[in-house]
């Protein structure tokens, strides 16, 4: 599947921003199942410094710095991405969840490369605290000996059923346990909650930020068409599921990720990969507008 994607972020500031540093995670990263064919970033105001790097998790990262006073910032990206279907996997063939925990835990020998990589995503991170409450909440999804893929599917369904998608009720600073208590939030909160439930048991999970194509696919559980999260940037979860490696789940829409999702970057949580993060001197209050369009290109 090939997509043309536009992503525009605009800030209007109430007073001059005198100086600003931003980091952007806006270029789709290379992955076995997708390819970014074309990508441009345009930034207003045009006078800025820019540097492109790769971050510690292998994502493309762009830094920009503004030294002149400005009242408005606009970052627009335009890209073409090819997404391939992923191989079918059978849930029953995945490893029992406790065995993964045991394999990831330290026991003195040389760990496998895959397991050591997975260990990076197994612990508490700034936005995902590891808590007993999360272990307890997800307990029903993890009966003894159940294959990890079945556990992850069950957890995804549970979150989809029990959490209400509600915009504007949480911010990036809302603690995870508060989200759990309120049972409300946006795709970030769904993803963080699912990651927290997995890591609290010693499993590895990463946060994936990207885009979602609205439309054709239907949720297995509800039969509703996927809409939540389109029109903005989206977030979901990758779970370490040996022997299949990392498989992705979208708890906001209750689907395993396929060709409707376009990944941009992944990390431990939102903080590692937020599309645009900046620290400003001045600016007072600001108004933000974001728009995303994802259009399939017919060949």
């Amino acid at each position: 599947m090939r997509y043309s994607i536009h992503h525009k972020t605009a800030y209007e500031y109430a007073s001059d921003v005198l100086h600003a540093h931003h980091i952007l995670h806006l270029v789709p990263r290379p992955a076995p199942f997708q390819q970014c064919l074309e990508h441009t970033i345009s930034v207003e105001p045009a006078t800025f410094r820019r540097r492109d790097e790769i971050d510690a998790f292998g994502n493309a990262l762009t830094r920009i710095e503004f030294e002149l006073p400005h009242r408005r910032l606009e970052v627009a990206t335009q890209m073409e991405v090819e997404v391939h279907p992923r191989p079918r996997v059978f849930a029953a063939h995945s490893m029992p969840w406790e065995r993964i925990c045991a394999d990831l835990a330290y026991h003195g020998g040389w760990p496998t490369r895959e397991n050591l990589q997975a260990c990076r995503f197994r612990h508490e991170s700034p936005y995902v605290r590891v808590k007993q409450e999360l272990t307890d909440y997800a307990a029903e999804c993890f009966p003894a000996g159940r294959p990890i893929l079945e556990c992850a599917d069950a957890l995804m369904v549970k979150l989809y059923r029990e959490m209400k998608y509600a915009k504007g009720e949480t911010t990036v600073r809302t603690p995870l346990l508060e989200v759990l208590k309120k049972r409300r939030g946006v795709c970030q909160d769904f993803a963080h909650l699912m990651i927290g439930c997995l890591r609290s048991r010693g499993l590895a999970a990463r946060y994936v930020s990207g885009y979602l194509r609205a439309g054709p696919t239907r949720s297995a559980e509800s039969g509703a068409s996927l809409t939540i999260g389109s029109g903005a940037s989206h977030a979901w979860v990758a779970v370490y599921t040996p022997p299949f490696g990392w498989l992705e789940f979208d708890p906001t829409n209750d689907v395993r990720v396929g060709t409707d999702h376009i990944a941009v970057a992944w990390g431990r949580d939102f903080g590692d990969v937020s599309p645009l993060h900046g620290v400003l001197l001045g600016g007072a209050i600001h108004e933000l507008s974001v728009s995303v369009t994802v259009e399939p290109i017919t060949q």
Partner: protein, 827 residues
Amino acid sequence: MKSEAANDKRAVTPDSGAEASLATYVPDPRRYDELLDENGALRAHWRPLIERLTANKAHDTARRALELTRRLIVENGVAYNVYTDPQGADRPWALDPLPLVLSQDEWREIEKGVVQRARVLDALLVDLYGPQRLLAEGLVPPELPFGHPNFLWPCHGLVPRGASWLHIYAADLARAPNGGWWVLADRTQSPSGAGYALENRDIVEQVLPETIRDLGVRRVRDFFSEMRERLRSLSDEEANPLVVILTPGPFNETYFEHAYMARQLGLPLVEGHDLTVRNEIVYLKTLGGLKRVHTILRRLDDDYCDPVELRGASTLGVPGLISAIRAHNVVITNALGTGVLESAAWLGFLPGVAERLLGESLQLPSVATWWCGEKPALDYVLANLDRLVVKPTYPNQQFEPVFGSDIKGDDREALIRRLQARPYAYVAQEHVALSQAPVWRSNGTPSFAARAFTIRVYAIATQTGFRVLPGGLARVASENAVDVVSTQRGGGSKDIWVLSRGEDEPAVAATRRLQVSMRPDELPSRLVENLFWLGRYTVRCADNARLLRSTVRVRVDRGVWIHAVRICRALGVIAKDLQPPASLRDDRDPYGIAADVKRIAWCASQVRGHLSARYWRAVVGLQRQLQEAAASRQEPREALERIALSLAALSGYAAEDMTHDEGWRLLRIGRRLERLQFIAGLLAQHLVAASATRQGQVEWLLDVCHSISIYRSRYFVAPRLGSALDLLVRDVHHPVALAFQCSSIARDLAELAASLKISGDPGLEATIPEFTDSELLTLEGEGDEARASRETLAARLRALHVAAAKLSDRLSMRHFSHTGDSQSVWT
């Protein structure tokens, strides 16, 4: 000190005196005793000290030493802030002047072990932030770095300039019952306490001057010159690298130490918003503009240092700092991310690390430690809980260390469940019976008592390897908590004396320059801005207090009272519908006394490192006076009188105690500008009043201006408007007069320009009104012409007031305007 000198001349007496004084000192058979050997005899390296101290009137020696120590701590303003102190106040530093004595041989072993350990930890950091070979080979658990909040992913793959991570290292050591030393903890992030160690030595040197000299105690001060040289040598800039100390600010518990180190090392003490990163270069916002920073000694935690890449919401850090570090444009000590090694969980793995990375066996053992992430370790810990202390693996866990033996019943079950649920997050350590050393017990008759302690030993990286501070900080447990040593929980401290056997100290590098002061153009803008406003608010508050006091004083004279209250209201010192005393009570009135005192306290707290101890105490006292005045409904006149007096003391201390540098000059400009505005405004208001020429009103005016007695001695006439104006407007020598303020401001601006090598500010855009003696007579006359001339003069004074405000704004724009708080945004 006299008696000590006298003692020195005595022949050293046999044990009898010493032993009698040691009657109160009780060794504990379960612990190693520093002072006495197994037979109860004084150990050789303690003998000279104890004999001196007990040779004659031991009680007096102890009492004098304790008193002097207490006084020096107060005078030097040594403090330790405790975040949770309900009063939010500083606690004076606790120092027992009786030192801990260590022999040269013993010290050699400690020194070697600490140096080796610093090398091991540095190599471990290089691996963790680089190839992670140790993880791949299974020599260290991935749980340790990856679960640690101070393992900073943005620093992975980053090679700091000079490729060295650890520049300053500290180890907490304790002595085991068998006499060997154990490492309790490693401090790798920004070890605190070295400044306190230096301060302790300064005080003990004054308390026991002859003893310290005669015993051949190794010097500690050289270590700090070396540290300074090291910091200066880390950048390319050879001629004049700018090194700064980055502090989280006055609310940090060890802020005193940050300020003290800054003074000792002659380096600017800065906060995050004093620095800015432009094009991957770090700059300090100074009085003279942006100055490039080459090296940062940080006292800020790893994850707070850069809100762009680390904790996004931190306002303490420097946005963009990591990009500058990555570009090798700045060196930060210790490197960001070094805090990852601050966990007891590493201790058990260090022997393997030393073997693998250095091919050496680890010399200093750690206290026996089990990281519960390994199944056999967890099983052992659960089976032996009673003899172990359970601690968190990661510093951000909400879990206080617990003694297994103290925890029973349901709590024990809960603890076991916690350990089983997330074993890798817990560490258990053997409960160490700390060794004991003598302290001077101060309650009642001073005598020796035994207390448990640990020591913190410091090392710095130099061109020729790590060098250890010959001394350090001994931390003494409080009487009740024998094996818990924590400054936050109210223990004390001691100086450590390392004896040398008369050998020469290693020669100090010739390049070393002592007594360096900050360059005037390196003063941080924020600091100077706060000094400027401290000057302004102190004078504003003093002037307002005097205005109100003089007004309250004339309450009985109705005519003058009406005149005075009207002017108070016109000047905004009291709100329209209020009476003068209200200003003391209501800090919501933005121009009242209470509000001014709040502002003074805030500015003072921001520049605390530049204030003397008594200045700070006076600020605290001022706040207390105001609270008392507001609460007790005290006679307002008396309260105002006292506040005015305290403010006068502040001005005195500012003049007497502070370095007369450019910051101080701006404080003085602030004071003069404020006084200029006040007097000009007051006179303008007075002149346009119908009763301006009345004697009572003029007398009130002179009283407000603190000029009654000088007027009397100068003019020999009852208060008259003309003479009062002569004094208050054009007398260049009278410190209240407008002419005095103007000439002082002009002089300070010129000197500021000269010392910063910048073009001078043009100064006030209005001049002091000039008048002839006959014009003065006209001014105090009656009738339309006189009134018109008073109106004209008032207008000129108002213009002067406006010119002062403009100058103030101009100075702010020019010298301070780069500062401000940053905010974070996300999508």
